[in-house]
Symmetry: C2
Subunit: 120 residues, 2 copies
DNA sequence: CGGAATCCTCTATGATACTG
DNA sequence: CAGTATCATAGAGGATTCCG
């Protein structure tokens, strides 16, 4: 993203967490600690293997999650948040809170419009 | 987004601010107060009219920005953040700060890798 | 089990031209 | 000035198959 004032780095953070399932992945890892590939698939049945893999790779690339492979057959791979990745939780929490109040606000807006249509 | 624990509403907020130019639009409005359509175009020359319009409509739809049209020829339309939209600034600031430190962290990672390649 | 490879679809964005 | 209308395109995501 260009043409943003003051050398803004909002987009840097945004790019880390944008991706259809990245938030879900991070929240599951934050909640469960360590998870194997198929455990992630089980809690997110709608994600395809390909997308899950690519999201995990990208999060790993940014240092947000850690990937540990155990050289055995069948393979075993464990994912977890890094300390660094955990520092994102503050932002996620804030976004969650704002989202909740936003939904409440929209509710109020819609009620008001209904009222005005009925009584205006 | 589904399959997220605890009825999470992170995605609600994310959906508001995802869009190639939405962050830029919000930051310009936060910085300048009120701006006309073509003023926004001038500070963001890479955005096409169509995309700028659709982003503005979506932000307005969510109550984040306010659109005021003056019924005159030639038309005059002014955009500004709503009080409500301004409550997002906290999140944007936090994301900016995280982005800055993330870039610093990546720098360090890359330096370390160079060092290890030279001296390992 | 945890992928990689291939092919496909759909949506966000862009280019361009026109208008009240 | 502030849009709308059309058409085009890249890339994110999805479906399916195969593999060590």
């Amino acid at each position: 993203m260009d043409e943003i004032p003051d050398n803004c780095k909002v987009a840097t953070t945004l790019d880390m967490i944008v991706g259809k399932w990245k938030i879900a992945i991070m929240l599951h890892l934050l909640h469960n600690g360590t998870m194997r590939f198929n455990e992630l698939r089980k809690v997110m049945p709608s994600v395809t293997q390909k997308v899950l893999t690519s999201h995990l790779r990208e999060l790993e690339e940014e240092g947000i999650i850690k990937r540990v492979t155990y050289p055995q057959v069948p393979p075993k791979v464990e994912y977890s948040m890094t300390k660094y990745g955990e520092s994102l939780q503050m932002i996620l929490d804030l976004m969650h809170d704002w989202g909740v109040s936003h939904l409440a606000q929209k509710q109020r807006q819609q009620s008001r419009q209904l009222f005005e249509n009925d009584n205006g």
